[in-house]
Symmetry: C2
Subunit: 158 residues, 2 copies
Amino acid sequence: MRRKSLSGAACPIARTLDVIGDWWSLLIVRDALRGMRRFSEFEKSLGVSKNILTRRLHALVRQGILETAPAADGSAYREYRLTAKGRSLFQVLVALGQWGHENAAAPAGSRMIMVDREHRRPVRKLEVRASDGRLLGPGETMMVRIGELAGASNTNQG
Amino acid sequence: MRRKSLSGAACPIARTLDVIGDWWSLLIVRDALRGMRRFSEFEKSLGVSKNILTRRLHALVRQGILETAPAADGSAYREYRLTAKGRSLFQVLVALGQWGHENAAAPAGSRMIMVDREHRRPVRKLEVRASDGRLLGPGETMMVRIGELAGASNTNQG
DNA sequence: TCATCTAGTTCCATAATAGAACCTGTGGGA
DNA sequence: TCCCACAGGTTCTATTATGGAACTAGATGA
C-alpha cells in the first residue's frame, strides 16, 4: 500500500510531516546544519545504507530543502547544501533536541546538548508566546482556519 | 531487516526521533493536545487504519507519552491521555506547524494557523536564544558533550 | 599505472503500512 | 429481555520501505 500522503492536509503540522516526517530526513538536515555537505560525510555520520541515503538526499533536493552544487574543494564531485527552506528547520531541530534531552535517556557520559557557539552555554528552552508576549501552554492555543483570525491581519506565523 | 534503532544515540535529536519519528505518533499527540482521547476519535481524525492506530497508541503508552485511564464518560471503555512527557512535545508541534505554514503549500482556502485561544491571534514565531538572551541562528549553535560546558554548571536545557 | 575513493545502483530478505474482513464486549432502545 | 449498532480491537493479505551486501563507473592520488 502506498504510504498515505498528507501533503494536502489543512494542518501545517501534517504537511510538514509529509515532507520531513521520516526516519532520516531530519537527521540529514541536522548534519547539514553542522556543515556536512558530501554524500560520504552523511553516510559515515548516520550509518545509513547507501541506497537509502541516495533516495533521501534526492527527495530532499526535490522538495527544495537541499540543493546540489559543484563541490567546494574543486573536485569533480557534487555536494548537497541546505537551502533557506532547509535552514529554517532549525527551530524544529532545537525543539526535538530539547525534548530528547529532557525525556529520552542517553547512555551515561555521552549525552550532548546544544550550546551557543560563542559562550558554550546551553541554549534557552523554547517558549511559545502570544503576539502580545504572553507565555502560552498547550491548552492556551488552538488551530483556526485563516480568515477566522481576530482583528488586524497580522500575518505573523503559523 | 530491523529498523535501525537510534535510542542509544548521543544526540538528543536522534533519540527523540527514535521515540516519535514516525508517520503517525506526532499527529496523535497533536490531536491529544486538542483534547482527543478515544480510539475512535483518533481514527476518524487521522483516517488511519485500526491496526496501525492500535500499534501506535500502544507504543506511545509504552514510551510514557500517553497513558490509559477509564473513560471520562463513565462507560466501561478506556481512553488515552497525554502524560506530562507527552504534553512537553508542544514546542515540537509548534515548530513543525510554523515551518509548514511558511514552507509547505496548502490547498487554497483551508490553511490553518495556530493562534492563542484568548485573542485569536497568531502565535509568535519561535526564537532560539542564548542563555544571555541573544537571538541565535543555526550557525551560532553547536552540540557539545555535557561536561564540556563553560563555567557555571547552568543546567538549563538541551 | 593501478589501487583507492566517491557516489552511486542493483539484488534480496525482512519489516512496516494500508485496507478489508472478522471478532468480542458495551450500550441503548424497543 | 432481545437485538442491533458501536467501540475497540485482531487477523489476513498486498504493497512499500528499509537495511545490508555486492557490484560499478568515474575521479583522485601515489
